[in-house]
Symmetry: C2
Amino acid sequence: MAKQLIVDLYGCDSVILDSEEKVRNISKQIIERVGATIVEECFKKFEPIGITYFAIISTSHFSVHTWPENGYAAVDLFSCSEFDEEYICELLKTFFKASEVKSSLVVRRLTAYE
Amino acid sequence: MAKQLIVDLYGCDSVILDSEEKVRNISKQIIERVGATIVEECFKKFEPIGITYFAIISTSHFSVHTWPENGYAAVDLFSCSEFDEEYICELLKTFFKASEVKSSLVVRRLTAYE
């Protein structure tokens, strides 16, 4: 069984949301806290603003899409290893300086019989 | 508003699930049917088996993780533009030769006030 944590962050700092360096750094910290390692990464800076960052991690994936004009970030953490979703949400809220966080958890069953 | 379609595919053809060429080709076809274009991609072939493919697309992202040993693929399609989720599920089922498909749809509100 794997878990997918889906997080919507509102009221974020728009400077953070539009900074490649900051988004990469936040992502790296979250991935480390999950106990995973980055295997491959891809990144896109959209014009005029907005970022997408994606990492294939040892336990599945981590993605961030930002809309700095809205103060919004969409984060996904898909992991085959256990993690504390409340802790990850708190970290994301702190790192992005979000005023509001909404999250949901999706269970991904890796076989039909789990 | 954006939509995120989360699809679990069971009983898939394990040869497809472990083929970089086939997974890339399926992903490309799905992304085309959504009316999006690929902006950046990353890919990892795990040892001994299993693939992760990720594309940043013009309307957000598309990801595939495969567990060929289970006949299982986990697919996500996150898009800011409208798409027909039933049609995408049917295509994925056909392309991966899946016997069972489970899907859920998550609405991603891009502002706190949508």
